[in-house]
């Protein structure tokens, strides 16, 4: 397992963790390059279905992070997310899914160092756990990218109506 490089994605909210990760960069701290960061408006937006999809796309682990409780830019998105994770983790646990591979944390916009540590620790932990082959075994053949590329010309789907 020594030279196994885990594949890691991170779902983060725009206002705290994304900014925190920006700060890690501005402070020139270093962390492993295994991670891909996806920006969400808020942890409240992070659908558990998207978490499943991340594992579909082949990650070995996933970081889910946002503003600390009471600091959410939208005041309560993270509180709702938090309850969602409690239930989601339980389904996965009951089903024997390896929830050690999902790293739930809060990283504020000021915690650049914490972000570096979260990523470093996650990569280390995943190196111990090895690739998630049990799950990959059940995956269908991988989707080929691009899925299709004739969609960008479409007009607005729905224009919100203001009354």
């Amino acid at each position: 397992m020594e030279d196994f490089e885990p594949k890691l994605a991170a779902f983060v909210c725009n206002w705290c963790t994304y900014a925190g990760a920006d700060l890690t960069g501005t402070s020139r701290m270093k962390y492993p390059s295994n991670v891909r960061i996806l920006r969400f408006p808020c942890t409240g937006r992070i659908d558990f279905m998207l978490v499943m999809k991340a594992f579909d796309s082949g990650v070995d682990g996933l970081i889910v992070s946002g503003c600390h409780p009471n600091d959410c830019h939208y005041t309560s998105g993270n509180f709702h997310a938090q309850r969602r994770w409690v239930v989601f983790k339980e389904v996965l646990d009951i089903m024997g899914f390896d929830t050690r591979r999902i790293f739930f944390t809060w990283v504020s916009a000021a915690e650049g160092a914490k972000w570096a540590k979260v990523v470093t620790d996650a990569v280390e932990e995943l190196k111990k756990l090895g690739p998630y082959s049990e799950f990959k075994k059940i995956l269908l053949k991988k989707l080929q990218f691009p899925l299709d590329n004739k969609t960008a010309d479409r007009e607005i789907k729905t224009e919100p109506v203001i009354s």
Partner: protein, 263 residues
Amino acid sequence: MNQKINQHIAYLMKEKGVNLIISQAKDSNGFVIPHFILSENDIISSVIAINEMRNFFAYLNKQEIKSFKSIGIVCNYFGVKTFFQLKFENQLKDLELFLLIPTDDDFIEITSEKQAEDYLSGLKQSTILVDEELENVKKMSMEERWNYWMKTLELCTKCYACRAACPMCYCSSCTTECNIPQWIPVPASLHGIFEWHVMRAMHLAGRCTECDECVKVCPANIPLNILNKGLHNKISEAFSSDDSSIKYALNFFQPDEKVDFIK
């Protein structure tokens, strides 16, 4: 009691303008099925024991049934629970409903949420057998659990009978049917099956009435109630501080709530 219910059904149809009663009967294999009473001639006298009774509230979410407007339904504890939850979720609108719950030598009639609430609060449903199975699964190691489910789920054909029978799965367009994007892979391979069951369990978490319809109709005997019950337990354990007026744990939170695994 059967006599009394039947008399009341006749009365409802004659005097109260009820034009459909969803009752229960056994088919030739002894399987409990719905029995639709459209006129007094359809009334039959067979008796279904209360613990054998099924929950046919899923029918009430169907447009075809809804158009009867004034409907009676024979049910047990779980029917009342379902009625209450569906009302809370703004379903069953414009329906005049008569819930008929058989008792030892009589029956109870429930027509309003208030009555349903009183009925439910006065009753403690004895926990069903699933507790033991859940315990067993929880005792397994993570690998064992994974293998257990993979073996069990292999039999699932994604027929979605569980969804069709579930009174709380009333979405007119289920996420499984969404193809932009295709959330749940279509083929009935373990991949799609796994995701379907995780999703179903999540969607029912905190809403499931534990009527076990999903289990009863599953041709592959998938123990969905293990998931249902597991999440039910988790929710009452993790969010037990909720006051009783809160009916859905997932659109609500307590100020300053903390979760230990989020560091």
